[in-house]
Symmetry: C2
Subunit: 248 residues, 2 copies
Amino acid sequence: MTNSPKTLTRLFTDADLGANALCTLGSGPAHKLRAVLRAEIGDEILLFNGRDGEWRARLTDIGKSQALAQCLSQTRPQTAEPGPWLAFAPIKKDPLDMMIEKAVELGVQKLIPVITRRTENRRVKEDRLNQQIIDACEQCERLTVPTLEAPISLDHLPAFWPPERTLIVCAERRDAQPLAQALKSINGPLGLLIGPEGGFEDAELDAALKQPISTPVTLGPRILRAETAAIAALAVIQATCGDWSTNP
Amino acid sequence: MTNSPKTLTRLFTDADLGANALCTLGSGPAHKLRAVLRAEIGDEILLFNGRDGEWRARLTDIGKSQALAQCLSQTRPQTAEPGPWLAFAPIKKDPLDMMIEKAVELGVQKLIPVITRRTENRRVKEDRLNQQIIDACEQCERLTVPTLEAPISLDHLPAFWPPERTLIVCAERRDAQPLAQALKSINGPLGLLIGPEGGFEDAELDAALKQPISTPVTLGPRILRAETAAIAALAVIQATCGDWSTNP
């Protein structure tokens, strides 16, 4: 580990952070510090908890089941990250993990597994996905951690979804506006609905598009895999009406 | 295999396609047809070669080392796909394969491996990457196959790069315009330069940005992994000034 601010190890913690606060880091971060990063007592790290900004801290103990760190000074104040929501049909493990990681990097605020008729992977491993989310937050320097909701069926999504938040529905092979054009007439918060590997069934897509919250869009002339559609659409949303006007 | 046009197996071939043409498919497609798809003689498939559009064809023989198919009728005429170029530092296998697959889905026209000072993976497995490219073309319904160039060093990229094609350089933590804003003032063809996992060295980034072809851009407030940056930037390019105004 080096003390250059750019390469300090960055870890998420549930603990409160503040001047001189002593933070307990659980077995996951303790293992990472000890076995992966070969950190030593006295090394500096960065900590964030989604509430108190980012703090430089010094490791005071590294055990097998936990590590201790004492906060030194705040490196970044807490800011809100009001990114888009992503409602997604769970897909196969590798592309799902990748989609989650990239969605976090692209600033998603809420992740909602949605069970559709053609959804093959109906057992969402929430523990694994939450770990993916935290790993990606640590890596991409986010200050907040997106929430992973419990899976709901597509039929129940409209009742869950706030009426003021536009639901952008990726509907290939339908008569719809290209995403960038549709975004020009959307004001306020928004989110994205991505179907499973085999796409939506016609009837369930019809039903989803009938909801007043829904705006159908297309993502170009090629057939995108589910995870590509999610990543590509999130990038376009953030670049054209999201937070890409600010820099690291 | 079904005869529904939406789900016909779609294969790339080097053979010429035309009315009644008999096409030989090599061992790769033959294996796929026989062992993966359990196709039978008489089944219909779709063929494309990047030159003659897309053809519906009937399998007339399926052997171990090759298969034969006879063209029936053209389903789509050949069109140009003048997408962006992607110059990328080779990264680790899994994210590299994923980046290539997604770049193909997003319509990239040319892929150029670029060796930078911090590039750890200097042996580019061109055979494997070319197979990734063809698989992705078959899946996403492209009519052209992007070319994979031989790896070149970053120092040699400006000599290789056509002067009229803007090179968009993703330069996080630098003073640069956000991508969507930069794209508004770029006319004509363009391409993207993405660094390796550890980013460019300062001096090589300075040198790349000094080239008259180069335009530096930023991709938002979070630190994106190399493959995320490539996919996200390609999506924004295609959605805002590429071919996303047309549908499948």
